[in-house]
Symmetry: C2
Subunit: 334 residues, 2 copies
DNA sequence: CTGAAAGCGCTTACAG
DNA sequence: CTGAAAGCGCTTACAG
């Protein structure tokens, strides 16, 4: 077995209390003792047991992070930001893939509670009441990323989806487009669905472009739905000149479908995405998009959460700023 | 504070030993006692403390997973496979992003040791001797994914890189190509670098195509290097008709660079990638590639590791099979 | 400067 | 069928 603090104490001829003190730099021992103890620690290759420590301190230095889909480009980017910051602060991350499923989420929350995580980051999903209650029962802070909730006390890190969508559409309008379609995410999605539709509507209104419901279709943020909805759009409103997709993945679906159909982007139709995942820069043609600083958001979430854990203060919601990344899928209409 | 086993015991008028028994379904109590205890557990919303449990059982039901780059499409896919299987078996995953950096990796290994993880999955990186020693010292099983090592005892899950590369190149040859370039990964990379180059060489040799070193260039598996190396290739060997990239990301870089240069894929030049990440199906044109079953590999790794943890047996290495996914970036030369 | 002892929340022989 | 007690590997008053 691995050596314990007892082994170190015995070998160094001191008490375990003393070993613990030098381990934690608490002071209250002679230099000689310290030397001796450290020497033995090295000899034995001793490492403190964080589990035992956690039992006493009631701190595990572990954070649970829940994603609807860890392997999506979107989640990956956030995860990287979270992980990197947390690691710098000596916290570990346990990842949970909820599949956006209620039962699964609840099971994870229970698991995280049993494992005594110090806090929770909840990403890209609606914080249902039952989740909220479960987290309340755990008695640990939570922060939402790319999400928001009605429970006033839950801090979040997100962009202003309505404004960002409005900017995207105004960008298109600025380039001379009027026949602008939108491929939204889920119709019922109050997070990234309806707010972005509102932004679309607001932009049209601002520029006196009448809204025609045939130009608004619904996907589910994923690639395939982008392909499908774009084709549908082409049937119903063939005169469309630009498409605003509520996610990069769907925008990439549009690119893919267009390629298959022999439609040239941006020559025939312009496309703007939403998210700014790393991928958006790799596709052909490079995608113009409204970028969220995903990695940064992950970092801020981790930062906020850890502060909350360590000070006990509850944090505020934070709106981070989006930006339009101009690449090559939007053409100026003349 | 959250209720403990003591609170339950007191309220149910039994000893904590009894509560523990019903908690763990150990038998040795009357039905009436069981009812009562379960009732109190529900009333109090009691959840056992996995930390306390772990201290005794010396099992944390936690697995550490190390990736050089969590947010890459490649790692994401593996992670998803690992997470999903592990969750089904009631294990949690703590993710570590090593940046392929020695110090960082070692620090993580130490952290995982302190946190008493039950096992380790080490992905897509060379298991350096110092890592191996650190893991040995932890006294837990490890399995490598998309990696391999000289230490005979370390199980792995991977494809046969040499064979897969050979198949890719033979596929190109079968389509009539002779002027086949390869963009390899790192020159020094013994995992996914040299074995794939060997496969390339073997395929040429099998078909009596003389090897010309100008057709072999080196990237680093990432997107940008694909762009750069493709442009370089065009300078030195403009007569090239097909490119084999040792990763999908680099292949996508080729697509991107080709688009910029006005070169049509596959009309002017054919491209085949390696990995089969989800992304390869989203790009334009859809990428033909040698696919590794990444998610499946993650699953197998988790399965192997957990078996090893629970039985104490050391596992064997496993070669999984690759397959060529034909899409639209390779054209038949006539 | 140092150690004995209590305790964190559990599990597990042991005894009855 | 049930409970008292020891113990997992630590930390932290408390006493000296």
């Amino acid at each position: 077995m691995n050596p314990t603090i007892k082994d170190v104490a015995k070998r160094a001829n001191v008490s375990i209390a003393t070993v613990s003190r030098v381990l934690n730099n608490l002071g209250g021992y002679s230099d000689k003792t310290k030397q001796k103890v450290n020497e033995v620690i090295r000899e034995l290759g001793y490492q403190p047991n964080a589990i035992a420590r956690g039992l006493i301190n009631k701190r595990t230095h572990t954070i649970g992070v829940l994603f609807p889909n860890v392997s999506s480009a979107f989640s990956s980017d956030i995860l990287q930001g979270v992980e990197d910051y947390a690691h710098g602060r000596n916290y570990s991350i346990v990842v949970c893939n909820t599949d956006d499923d209620g039962k699964r989420t609840l099971k994870y929350l229970q698991l995280l509670r049993e494992k005594q995580v110090d806090g929770i980051i909840f990403s890209s999903s609606v914080l249902k009441e039952e989740y909220y209650e479960a987290i309340q029962a755990m008695n640990v802070p939570v922060v939402l990323v790319s999400s928001e909730s009605n429970y006033a006390t839950v801090p979040y890190v997100k962009v202003d989806d309505c404004l960002a969508a409005c900017d995207a559409v105004e960008y298109l309008i600025g380039k001379g487009h009027r026949k602008i379609a939108m491929i939204s995410g889920g119709k019922e999605d109050v997070l990234a669905g309806s707010p972005r539709v509102d932004g679309y509507l607001r932009a049209l209104q601002k520029h006196q472009i009448p809204f025609d419901s045939r130009y608004l279709v619904y996907g589910d943020f994923r690639f395939e739905s982008g392909c499908i909805q774009f084709e549908a759009l082409l049937q119903t409103v063939p005169d469309v000149t630009a498409v605003f997709a509520a996610s990069d993945e769907m925008a990439i679906g549009v690119l893919s479908a267009a390629y298959k159909l022999g439609i040239r982007i941006p020559d025939d139709i312009s496309v703007i995405g939403f998210d700014g995942v790393q991928l958006s820069n790799m596709v052909v043609p490079p995608l113009t998009t409204v970028s969220q600083p995903l990695q940064e958001m992950g970092k801020i979430a981790a930062e906020t959460l850890i502060r909350s854990i360590e000070t006990g203060e509850t944090a505020e919601g934070i709106i981070v700023s989006h930006s339009i990344v101009e690449r090559q899928t939007v053409r100026t209409l003349t």
